[in-house]
């Protein structure tokens, strides 16, 4: 049974002044996939995710999310996406609870209190719910950021280098959680520059270089390791 693709990019190009960030990207993602974009810094992975999230408007090409042409209807379907970036998008002087309350209001959630308590419990932050978040560690902030991104129960979760700065334990926790997210039929798109911990759930890999998807491979993270190393060696031309 072929479902409609949940994300579709066609010949997407984006440049910032003289720098080309994306040069004709084509991508189709089916619901329930866990796809990881691998590539070195500056390859275009973040820009790719931000185009899907509609934070960045491409210069040309077509972007469809859940069947909606997002360039023609930029407001539609935003509640279907959750985005976890390096910045937490949270407010340091508000408590964890207040931060989530704010986002619950923005997304117009029906029973916000229940939902907030649920995600706080998942994130293991219930005890710290009433503390202003400027006292939180990096791991706690990241957990709260994911709580924020999943508060409205999105269909698609986008993550941009979510493991950076997390310790081993936190990384494993995040990995397990991503696996369960996918097990519930949601889609995960993630960008990272290295094969870190926590990627055990991923089954599809795209190597990104110079604004294009150079290679796409299925498999587990163990399978991909050597392929990725080879890919990086080949592309080592102008690094120094």
């Amino acid at each position: 049974m072929a479902d409609a693709p949940v994300v579709r990019l066609e010949k997407v190009e984006k440049w910032f002044g003289r720098t080309s960030a994306l040069q004709g990207v084509d991508l189709t993602v089916q619901p329930g996939e866990f796809l990881v974009f691998l590539g070195r810094n500056g390859a275009g992975k973040s820009t790719l995710l931000r185009v899907v999230a509609r934070l960045v408007r491409p210069n040309s090409g077509r972007v469809e999310v859940c069947g909606i042409d997002v360039l023609r209807y930029p407001e539609a379907g935003r509640e279907k996406l959750g985005f976890v970036a390096h910045s937490s998008y949270l407010y340091r002087n508000l408590t964890a609870f207040e931060n989530l309350q704010f986002f619950a209001r923005l997304y117009g959630l029906k029973e916000p209190e229940d939902r907030i308590h649920k995600v706080l419990r998942w994130a293991g932050l219930e005890k710290n719910a009433l503390r202003p978040i400027h006292g939180f560690s990096r791991g706690m902030q990241q957990r709260l950021s994911i709580a924020r991104a999943t508060l409205h129960d999105p269909e698609i979760l986008l993550l941009d280098e979510p493991f950076s700065g997390l310790d081993l334990e936190a990384s494993e926790l995040l990995g397990e959680w991503l696996e369960s997210f996918v097990a519930n039929g949601k889609t995960v798109l993630m960008a990272t520059h290295d094969l870190e911990q926590g990627l055990q759930g991923a089954r599809r890999w795209a190597f990104v270089d110079q604004g294009k998807i150079a290679e796409e491979l299925p498999g587990t993270d163990a399978d991909i390791r050597d392929q990725y190393k080879k890919f990086l060696k080949e592309k080592r031309r102008d690094v120094f």
Binding site: W15, F16, G17, R18, T19, S20, Q23
Partner: protein
């Protein structure tokens, strides 16, 4: 319009206009020869408003269509507008000093000129300080719209303010008792300055487009791995 044709037309009308201003126009009774500056001043005043109107129209159209061409037109208009605003201010000052003995008066026309001059500067500074070209175009278009819409409001507020705080009037009243010959010279200088504006505007746009082409070529060569 063909640039060369425009250049010739501008040159011709300018020369004619200069002749008219210095030879044909009668010498004004009270102010003497200095009054001839009035033609330059008044004409730049008009071009000033023409320029900000162009900035407005092309900024609005840019926000709707997002065509880089429209941004080029808007920003070039602002640059040329700044030039004419400066001319307007300077001619105003050079007229005021010998006639009234003061360099400046807060006459509503002159003041509005000054504020518009500041708005042009703000617009151009904004463009300088934004890194990304798309953002630069968008943000300056937004400011351009706000600034342009404000210009008549600024003028009105200045006029009414003046009724409460009388100031020496530099404009000499709205065409009060103008010799018919002077009327012709005004019309001619308006035409000459308008053509000059369009010529300079076109030149500035062409310069900007050339720069665009260079950028696009740089981008393409990056893609091919040369840069």
């Amino acid at each position: 319009m063909n640039r060369n044709l425009l250049a010739w037309a501008t040159c011709a009308t300018m020369l004619l206009s200069l002749y008219a201003i210095f030879m044909y126009a009668p010498t004004e009774l009270t102010m003497g020869a200095v009054q001839r500056i009035f033609y330059f001043h008044f004409a730049s005043h008009w071009v000033n408003f023409l320029a900000i109107f162009c900035v407005f129209i092309y900024s609005v159209r840019f926000l709707i269509k997002r065509d880089r061409e429209l941004d080029i037109k808007a920003s070039s208009a602002a640059e040329v507008g700044l030039l004419f605003a400066t001319i307007g201010l300077l001619t105003g000052m050079f007229w005021a000093k010998p006639v009234w003995g003061i360099w400046w008066t807060w006459d509503p026309r002159l003041t509005s000129f000054f504020v518009l001059w500041l708005i042009y500067w703000g617009y151009l500074m904004l463009r300088r300080l934004v890194e990304s070209p798309e953002q630069r175009a968008r943000l300056s278009a937004v400011f351009g719209v706000l600034g342009a819409v404000d210009v008549p409001i600024i003028y009105v507020s200045n006029r009414v303010w003046r009724t409460q705080h009388p100031q020496p009037v530099i404009g000499g009243g709205e065409g009060s008792g103008l010799d018919p010959r002077m009327g012709w010279v005004v019309a001619l200088s308006f035409l000459a300055f308008t053509l000059l504006y369009f010529y300079l505007w076109k030149m500035r746009q062409d310069l900007e487009r050339a720069q665009e082409t260079v950028e696009s070529l740089t981008r393409q060569s990056q893609f091919k791995g040369f840069a």
